[in-house]
Symmetry: C2
Subunit: 331 residues, 2 copies
């Protein structure tokens, strides 16, 4: 996209909160579930089944993303996707997002416009009918995007982490380890010493592009959350910190052992187990109930000495924190 003249693209410190929120909200279509949209003290969203599913997740520059690697569009998309996945993981359909932005004064208005485009397009692609219904804008030296997602259970009971029963199939929908592969590309190829540098697409092969896209613009299978609940899923969660750690959490919550089949985890089993941020759905189903879109990766057993097994062996469940040592790095 060609740069706009500076006069058309002011720094956020030089424009009113109202203008920035307007720029966001005019770029996002109304939600099908919005009874009262932006412009008042609060929005009103339909909750026809008499309850609302609610979750919040924040992306902070530094530990969660780098502007050298993520565009505004990427950031909006990812902030939407990770929150939509949490709603889907309860078996609900996402209805609305609220976006609290804290932005450096020298950031350009066009960045926020692209952020709004990312929110809009992620909703359209992943959760049609869901949209940004409200927001808040503050100033901060650290770019921070805090999103709350709401959803409707459409009369279904919520699917928790604690309902897995011995004999159930363990299944997954979505990628395992691809987002981590994308992060490895960034860490390995687009740094100058410790400082992230912009991605040069010409240096990427097709597989690397797919991995990078999974990291920067993940596409969790949001609609399959409701499908799983309808099919009778006994437990469900989204995989944000890696299959190993999140499967252990489900095993803990349900008081069972999850026994995974390594041959179902793709060519790189370690990456599938350890890599986070794909936001795939992990679910358990009674025998014969596996719906289309989910693939079996193991079985639930009565609790043994280990919470998680892969091919009969214990699994390292220390999990995913790729930025752990990166917080002092700028970029």
């Amino acid at each position: 996209m060609p740069s706009r003249p500076e006069a058309d693209d002011p720094r956020l410190g030089d424009v009113s909160e109202g203008r920035v929120l307007q720029a966001i909200l005019t770029r996002t279509p109304p939600s099908a579930h919005t009874l009262l949209g932006p412009g008042d003290d609060a929005a009103v969203i339909a909750a026809p089944s008499g309850s609302v599913v609610a979750t919040t997740d924040t992306l902070v520059h530094g530990p969660d993303f780098r502007l050298a690697w993520s565009s505004g569009y990427d950031l909006g998309w990812k902030a939407a996707a990770v929150n939509l996945a949490d709603v889907a993981a309860m078996g609900a359909r996402p209805t609305a997002l609220l976006v609290a932005l804290a932005v450096p004064r020298d950031l350009r208005l066009s960045f926020v416009e692209r952020l709004a485009d990312g929110f809009r397009d992620a909703c359209t692609a992943l959760a049609p009918g869901c949209a940004v219904v409200g927001g808040d804008l503050t100033v901060s030296d650290v770019l921070t995007v805090a999103v709350t997602a709401l959803g409707d259970l459409e009369g279904r009971a919520p699917v928790t982490r604690s309902g897995a029963r011995p004999g159930d199939a363990v299944a997954v929908a979505g990628e395992l380890g691809l987002a981590a592969q994308g992060l490895a590309v960034l860490f390995g190829r687009f740094r100058d010493g410790d400082v992230p540098v912009p991605v040069d697409p010409a240096r990427l092969g097709p597989g690397e592009r797919a991995a990078l896209s999974a990291q920067l613009r993940p596409t969790p299978p949001i609609a399959l959350g409701a499908v799983a609940a309808t099919a009778g899923a006994t437990a469900m969660m989204d995989i944000s910190d890696g299959l190993a750690l999140d499967a252990r959490r489900m095993a803990d919550a349900s008081g069972v052992t999850l026994a995974l089949d390594g041959s179902a985890l793709g060519p790189d089993v370690d990456r599938a187990l350890a890599g986070g941020e794909d936001h795939a759905l992990l679910a358990t189903f009674p025998e014969g109930a596996l719906p289309p879109g989910f693939r079996a990766i193991g079985v639930v057993r009565a609790r043994g000495t280990e919470e998680l097994l892969c091919d009969g062996r214990p699994v390292d469940t220390s999990g995913w924190d790729p930025y752990r040592d990166w917080d002092s790095v700028s970029g």
Copy 2:
């Protein structure tokens, strides 16, 4: 409160996200409206009237508060109160809060515990039955508290900003200008040059203490939001940026002129008009419908050349941004 030994009060960078969230959630009682509480990918909150009111508001260290002046308890209380006020201003009853915290690594666990106490006590005092039902914790160099509040309309229609009609009474519930007076005490008395210094209560008279409390731990009349809606309020909003600016916004949204009576605004009319952060409720009512708790401060007129009058004269509506020039000040 005496300091705890350091071993009992670790820095947040040295403890797991789970432990911190646990510390918050064990200190906050379950909401009466919580169908499924913390521990899963999302919470489920009752929305018996088939819709949910939702709003988000963020406090950022620097522009919105200073740790030299606000304790963790103050911060939790205020972050709850300002969001509860937005729900109340729609005529709804608050049901749940979600709290996204971004915290510096060197902050102590006890700070977050006190923050949670502030959330709990603000809900108990201002919106009984409402509680923190979910959260998210990330690391950031800038302490940031992003809160989403949900509420239930209990079968009432939402009260917007746009329904004020000529002939209605303009009324307010809550303080006007007291929080601004508290901020003036902080700015005037508790600085070393440009750097905020801790408040010494011994240096404060009773009036100053009340003003400081209104600034640090505001007590907006949350329950009166539902009361106003039941009484037939035609328009309502909370006064966050000062009566003048917010009344102008209501006049704009409704296409009317609000004519205020200066004698109803207390001894310091300028402060009542300009001072923000009290989160009083501004509402309009048909003649004779003013409910207990609200006091009349003017009348709605057909739109004239001015949106807002006080004693027949135009009012400066440039509004409230006390920290505008303070963002580079540390403390």
